[in-house]
Subunit: 100 residues, 2 copies
DNA sequence: ATATTATATCTACATTTCTCGATATGTCAA
DNA sequence: TTGACATATCGAGAAATGTAGATATAATAT
């Protein structure tokens, strides 16, 4: 885990927002293709709709969160689903407690 | 606490470094005027010497950490001492565990 | 009062980040 | 195969950040 990369990813209101939305996805996103948001995740379009930004920006933000290790991706058909990587997020908390 | 401001402050190698040095100041800084680094802190010159950067940059970085609430300042004579604000840092850890 | 030292602030330039529109790529449906 | 849709990537301009030098301010020492 590169803490600098993680902190940079978290240094943006919208990206922090996305991560929080993904904590309880069914509370924040409209259902989609009958997939279980909790286990599969939400797709880029769902995030784009909720952010007030373009598809391009939403896709890039999700990439940044993924490269930082905070979310995981799974492609199903033409959709790409993203969900939180709770293990990595716990590692971050552990880093904060130990190193910081 | 403004988490975005905090994450921004932590998104820089040198500033993260400073915060870690301040965890065990006597291991990382040369003594100064006989002050107890643990209770009083370290002054801008000590940080400047250890960073490989200018006094201007060191002072600015310390300000950023302070505005983010991660360190506290105390002026004694012509020196300004900085030390960690452990309470605020714990708040950050709590934020991570609850909100993030 | 003046010189010296420590720190803060101002200005500036280079680099990075933000955000978009345009376009490419991947996948499915007809 | 073509068309439609979802996503990713590219290129660009505006804004923010990184970092330095110059200078201002504050405190001390002579």
């Amino acid at each position: 885990m590169d803490p600098i990369e993680v902190f940079k990813a978290l240094s943006n209101e919208s990206r922090l927002q996305i991560l929080q939305w993904l904590k309880e996805p069914e509370k924040h996103f409209v259902p989609h293709e009958g997939v279980d948001m909790r286990t599969i995740g939400v797709c880029v379009s769902q995030v784009t709709d909720k952010l007030n930004m373009t598809q391009s920006t939403a896709s890039q933000y999700l990439s940044i969160l993924q490269r930082a290790g905070l979310i995981r991706t799974e492609r199903i058909g033409k959709y790409t689903y993203y969900k939180r990587d709770e293990e990595k997020i716990s590692e971050l908390a552990a880093y904060l407690n130990q190193e910081l």
